[in-house]
């Protein structure tokens, strides 16, 4: 306890305290809260000196009080300097704690694949379009050189839509003379003649849409997605089709996976091809997932003259190629996602969706 102290004495004690304390703060390794308690707290020397203020004559108190405040501010500023320095105290800072992350959402794999495929084709001038999912039989089959009852239609397990057109033939809407049967498009090829009908040549299109087929098992879902490429111009060759394929494969699958093109048959292309990609799982040696090292990706071909005619294009002047592949299948071949059941994609279980 400080007794009978003069104002001058008290001021010098205060200034001395300030110097000692500031030095102490600078060199201390104690946590800043502890130092603060020690130098400014109620049991501190400063607190004692402040109490001594009341023993001074009244006329001196405000003058010395100013000094008390200055000392206090000075010590606080030293403390705050200390606080801004990196502190290695476990009580206040743990760098191993998980960081605060931005929100994380997830796009469906199919959307991710669609975006990636769109970007790749965009770079060679193939622009994404979208044609109907519920369409006239004309666009899905007839205009593609597949008349009613053609056996080639068996390749597609097609869903039919109940006609909205009145039953009576006499009432049939003339505008829809060839448009009286509706289907859920089993492929994106319905976009071919629809794109030609835009009357803009040349054509470089990527039509991406939902498709529907009447089947469900580990490798089929009744709804799925396809992307359809169509190129119509003068002097289109098989070499161009191969060029576009190779461009896509290089960018989508990366180097090391090779493709091959085999003869096939589709009513709406001539010649027709089947495109295979070397198996990513066995690197071409042949395994359970593939056929002798090859995975069937999908179909392609040079547009059949009858299809060009159906789209109002003269096949003597123009030619073209087309290809149409499943998004799900194409993507699963890429990633080796080890997804063994395609139906999982449409389970919509967020515990699955959040993995991608």
């Amino acid at each position: 306890m400080i007794e009978n102290v003069s104002s001058a004495n008290l001021i010098s004690l205060l200034i001395e305290y300030e110097q000692i304390t500031r030095e102490e703060i600078r060199t201390s390794t104690e946590p800043s809260e502890m130092i603060k308690l020690k130098v400014l707290g109620s049991k501190s020397k400063l607190s004692e000196l402040t109490r001594a203020l009341s023993k001074l004559p009244k006329e001196d108190r405000s003058r010395v009080g100013l000094v008390v405040n200055q000392v206090k501010t000075s010590i606080e500023s030293e403390l705050s300097k200390k606080n801004t320095e990196p502190v290695q105290s476990r009580n206040t800072f743990d760098p191993t704690m998980p960081g605060i992350r931005p929100p994380v959402g997830h796009l469906h794999i199919v959307s991710q694949a669609i975006m990636e495929i769109t970007r790749i084709f965009e770079r060679i001038g193939f622009i994404r379009v979208r044609h109907p999912e519920v369409d006239w039989d004309w666009y899905a089959f007839e205009s593609l050189n597949m008349p009613l009852h053609h056996p080639a239609r068996d390749e597609w397990e097609t869903f039919f839509i109940k006609s909205q057109v009145p039953n009576s033939k006499s009432q049939k809407n003339t505008k829809h003379a060839k448009f009286d049967k509706m289907v859920l498009t089993p492929h994106t090829s319905n976009g071919q003649v629809r794109e030609m009908e835009k009357r803009k040549l040349p054509i470089r299109m990527i039509n991406i849409a939902k498709c529907y087929r009447r089947q469900i098992d580990v490798s089929h879902t009744p709804m799925f997605h396809q992307f359809e490429g169509l190129y119509v111009d003068k002097n289109v060759s098989i070499a161009h089709l191969k060029g576009v394929m190779d461009f896509f494969f290089t960018h989508f699958y990366g180097p090391g996976r090779i493709s091959r093109i085999r003869p096939f048959h589709f009513q709406f292309t001539e010649p027709s091809f089947e495109i295979d990609v070397s198996c990513g799982a066995c690197a071409g040696g042949g395994c359970r997932l593939c056929k002798d090292g090859w995975l069937e990706l999908g179909g392609a071909g040079m547009v059949h003259p009858n299809v060009l005619k159906a789209g109002g294009i003269d096949p003597e002047i123009y030619s073209g190629f087309a290809f149409g592949w499943g998004i799900e299948r194409t993507y699963m071949m890429k990633s080796g996602t080890s997804l063994d059941d395609v139906r999982l994609l449409y389970s919509n279980d967020v515990r699955f969706l959040e993995q991608f």
Binding site: E133, A152, Q164, G243, N348
Partner: protein, 628 residues
């Protein structure tokens, strides 16, 4: 369709130095795709996919012919042997001891061949035929029936045998069926015919054959049969297909006949069948051979321009055009600017110039054509704003922490005028949805069993009814949260409206519903895209800083902050921005930014505006400033 062909059997038609693995590799690149090779040595079997346009290749001899055209391209020797088309059968005139009375209709049945055998001994086939058939995945039944399967598999021409004694009046009349007629096929299935099907009746009018699909049970050859009719035909493919589909009776014969078979092949195969009936079943020919073929098949010539060939394939030599075609049986005449090609009778699939180009190109080898990107200028196609916005918003929602769902477009229940699927796969998928809620909400509830915290969305089509027309496929957006997240949902909606540059107006574009366990935001996305005004106008950055102050009001009861803020915003030109800060007990704090773009604001001016605010809110909302 896939067929199995044993290597040993193939080599009865093909002389080659190529190993099975070579044959598989080369044919896959240039012809039918050999998907797998099973077994080894004598039991090697090729599993081959043959496309529907090539019924001529759906047989052992057909594959041999393809091999002969393809293998030399890869440096192998290959020679076609036992080509049935080389046979020019002559049948001895044998007295008609077992007469058969026939009548047919050439529009349904372009060619009819038949002959009756006596003294047939039904028993097992010899080991070789049994082995061939078994390796080919066909059942062995008896020597007589096995001959028919052997012929079909070796040459692609189905054959049938009848028991002569079971045919009443020994009369066979081929005709179109009448609707409702009944026939039991030899697999024991009873069919009620749709009408217009090709059938054969006996003298009593009883149907004994469902032509081209399966024989009748009542006329079939059994172990006791002695007198047997060998019977090879071709039929109208459309009619066969219609019947086979309508009755769901899909036999190998039907899948061949419906593709259109070569009438010129019937007689050579018939003659081979006759020989086998004698050697394998002891049959003695008991009458003359009947061959009803009123209209011979015409040969077809297709002309291709050389320029077109070069445009499709690239620069190739003349011999690259002639050799492949000739080895496939085409006759080629090279002219100055064009190639004239006579198509063999078995290649009905080749009708126009590009068909010829395909034959040249595939044998030349697609793998040998150098790939090249198109050199012409890309078309000038604008981006579809719907697709652009769809992708944009999906990415934003992902980055804001939402997970995308992708549900089926088909739903179980019709709610209104939904389009109906005539042949649904399951009762869960019968209608095309008119709202995303129909498919998304069940999925959400399923997920809530596993997680408490859910933030999901789907941006997909719904199918809106249009009179006498296709549906309008239009994009809707649904966002679902677990629990009551009203303000989050409203905030998301506000943010979306902002992005589209549309003044916030939920009722015009959608709904926001909070139920006991979920919050659902539903928006007509397509409408927002149509009305989007995303262009952002530049306003100069203020030279003078705004003055900012927070005002806390004491409110009562069911006070609403929205109208108050709207009022304050428009109260005075110096009020630049009003934002909501905080709600605590019965206090609401808003932040006012005052701004004069021309000068610094004085305390005096601000005081006056503030007073105006306080007066207005007291008067209109009975709200006073919190006592400090």
């Amino acid at each position: 369709m896939n067929i199995l062909i044993p290597d040993m059997w193939l080599r009865e038609f093909l002389k080659t130095d190529a190993k099975p693995s070579d044959i598989a590799r080369c044919l896959s690149l240039c012809g039918p795709s050999i998907e797998r090779v099973h077994g080894k040595g004598n039991t090697t079997v090729y599993d081959i996919e043959i496309t529907g346009n090539r019924p001529d290749a759906m047989s052992v001899s057909g594959i041999a012919r393809e091999s002969v055209a393809i293998l030399p391209r890869f440096g192998f020797k290959a020679q076609f042997i036992n080509d049935p088309y080389i046979l020019k059968p002559i049948f001895p005139n044998i007295p008609d001891t077992l007469p058969l009375f026939l009548k047919t209709d050439p529009t349904l049945n372009p060619r009819w061949t038949s002959v009756v055998f006596d003294g047939v001994k039904v028993g097992p086939s010899d080991k070789k035929i049994q082995k061939y058939l078994e390796l080919s995945g066909l059942r062995t039944i008896s020597n007589v029936v096995d001959i028919t399967n052997y012929l079909m598999h070796a040459y692609g021409q189905p054959a049938h045998v009848f028991d002569y004694d079971k045919i009443s009046g020994h009369t066979m009349t081929l005709r179109a069926s009448k609707k409702g007629e009944i026939l039991t096929t030899l697999d024991g299935k009873k069919h009620t015919l749709p009408g217009g099907d090709i059938v054969i009746e006996d003298k009593t009018g009883t149907l004994i054959d469902l032509c081209g699909i399966m024989g009748g049970e009542n006329s079939s050859v059994t172990n006791n049969s002695k007198r047997v009719i060998l019977f090879l035909q071709t039929y109208n493919p459309v009619s066969i297909r219609r019947t086979s589909m309508a009755l769901a009776q899909r036999t190998e014969a039907a899948t061949l006949f419906e593709k259109g078979l070569d009438t010129e092949l019937v007689l050579p195969v018939f003659s081979i069948g006759m020989r086998m009936m004698g050697s394998a079943a002891g049959g003695r020919v008991a009458g003359p051979v009947t061959d009803i073929y009123p209209e011979r098949k015409k040969t077809r010539t297709v002309v291709v321009s050389k320029n077109k060939i070069l445009a499709y394939i690239g620069p190739i030599k003349d011999t690259d055009i002639t050799t492949p075609l000739e080895s496939l049986g085409f006759t080629v005449r090279m002219r100055e600017e064009r190639v004239e090609v006579r198509v063999p009778s078995w290649r009905d699939d080749v009708a126009i110039d590009v068909d010829i180009i395909e034959e040249i190109a595939r044998i030349y080898g697609y793998h040998t054509i150098q790939s090249a990107l198109p050199a012409s200028a890309p078309p000038n196609t604008p981006i579809d704003p719907m697709l652009m916005w769809e992708e944009n918003i999906k990415i934003r929602l992902r980055d804001w922490g939402y997970t995308e769902l992708l549900t089926y477009s088909m739903i179980a229940q019709n709610e209104g005028s939904a389009y109906k699927i005539l042949n649904p796969l399951s009762s869960d998928w019968v209608y095309m949805r008119t709202s995303l809620k129909q498919s998304v909400l069940p999925v959400v509830h399923e997920n809530l069993k596993n997680t408490k915290d859910l933030k999901v969305f789907e941006l997909s089509h719904v199918y809106v009814h249009k009179h006498n027309d296709l549906p309008k496929e239009t994009l809707h957006l649904i966002v679902v949260w677990s629990g009551n997240r009203f303000l989050e949902a409203k905030g998301l909606a506000e943010a979306l409206f902002d992005l589209f540059g549309i003044k916030y107006n939920l009722p015009d574009f959608g709904t926001l519903e909070v139920s006991s366990d979920i919050t659902v935001l539903y928006l007509d996305f397509a409408k927002m895209v149509e009305l989007a005004q995303p262009r952002k106008a530049y306003t100069p950055i203020p030279k003078y800083p705004p003055a900012i102050e927070d005002l806390s009001f004491e409110v009562t009861g069911d006070f609403r902050i929205g109208p108050l803020m709207d009022t304050v915003k428009t109260l005075h030109p110096l009020i630049y921005r009003v934002t909501f800060l905080d709600a605590y007990q019965n206090f609401r704090t808003i932040r006012i930014e005052y701004l004069d773009t021309t000068k610094n604001l004085s305390d005096d001016v601000i005081r006056k505006v503030r007073q105006k605010i306080l007066d207005a809110v007291r008067e209109k909302f009975s709200v006073t400033l919190k006592n400090v």
